[in-house]
Symmetry: C2
Subunit: 200 residues, 2 copies
Amino acid sequence: MKNSTFSDLSFSLDMPEWAADALGALPSHLPTPEARMAAVIEFSRQNFLRNTGGPFAAGVFERDSGRLVVIGVNRVMPFNCSSAHAEIMALSLAQKMLGTYDLGAEGVPAHELVVNWRPCAMCLGAVLWSGVRSLVIAGSGPELEDITGFDEGPVSEQWRTELERRGISLTDNVLKNEAIAAYREFTALQKTVYNARQGK
Amino acid sequence: MKNSTFSDLSFSLDMPEWAADALGALPSHLPTPEARMAAVIEFSRQNFLRNTGGPFAAGVFERDSGRLVVIGVNRVMPFNCSSAHAEIMALSLAQKMLGTYDLGAEGVPAHELVVNWRPCAMCLGAVLWSGVRSLVIAGSGPELEDITGFDEGPVSEQWRTELERRGISLTDNVLKNEAIAAYREFTALQKTVYNARQGK
C-alpha cells in the first residue's frame, strides 16, 4: 500500500483582519520601550477580545530608530498550529518583509523584539535564531503561569546568560503591571488557555 | 507619520517539489523506529543534496500503527524564515492535515516525532506543545555541533525529565551512525550552516 495523498505540503499563517488597520493606526516609529510595549499589550488584548487567538503579542522594531516593522499575535487555535505563537508570527513576518532570515545580518539595522512576557521555551529558542539584538519583556516571573495556567516549558536556568552570550540585550519589567492587568482581564473572561495539552 | 503598508500580513511555508513524490514512494506504514528513522535521514540528505534546505528532517507517524503522516525538512534559507526548522514544518503540516493543534488530543491516535538528532532549544519546546507522545532521535551528543558547527542553543539540563513529565517517551540512538554519516556528507560538501547568525 502506497501513499498518494501528499498533494498539499504547505501551510500558511496570517494575522487577523483587524491587525492591518490597527498597525496602520500606530505611529511609524515608537521611540521608547514603554511605547512599544503599550502597543504590544494592546494587540494582545485585541487578540483575545476579538477571539482571534491567545493573549500574547510580540512586536519587531528597529532597535535604535524605533521604526515599527510588525506586531504579531498568537494564532494557535485559528490555524490549528501549536507553533503559531506571537513571537513566531512576528519574527517570521518581519523576516519575510525584510527578505532575510537573519534580522541581525550585516547591512540590516539592529532589531528588537518586544513581548508581553518572557517567551516560552520554544520562543526563547526562536529569539536566538532570529538575529534580533534586543529583547524587551513585560516580566519574567511566575505571574503569567499563575494567572493564566499557561505552561511556559522548561527554560534553561541560564537563559539570561545565553541571550547575553549571543549579543542579545535584555530589558525586563517594562509595563509589568499593565501586562498583568491584561492577563487578569483574559482570565476573567474565562478564555481557555489554548496551549495546554488537552489529552491525557 | 503613519504606516499604511501592512497589506500582506501572512507567510507560507511549503515542502520542496521533490518531497511529494518522495513521500508517495514510501510505504504507508513504517512499523519500526529504524524504518522511520531511515526515511527521515534520507529526506535530510535529499534536502541538502537538492539544495532545498539544511540537513535536517523530521517525520510524524502514528506511534502504534506506524502510519506515515508527513515528513518535514528544514526550509530556513529558501523562505528566509529562521523558525522553519524541520520539526516545525513536520508538526505544522501534520496538525493542518489532522485538523488539530494537539496531536495528542482525545480521539486522535498517539503520534510520534522522529528526528535526525536531538531537537534544538526552539524545537524541543515545539515538541512539548505539539501533543506528540513519543520522540525518537538519532542521537543527542555533541557530534552534530562538532561536525556541522550548528548551534543547538541552551537546552534545559532536565530535558529528558521534562519530556517524561509531559508524558512524552524518548528513544535515543536510533541509526546514530547513519545520521552522523549524513552530517559528514553534508559537511564534506561544504554547505553553509544556515542557522548561525551571520552578523557580528
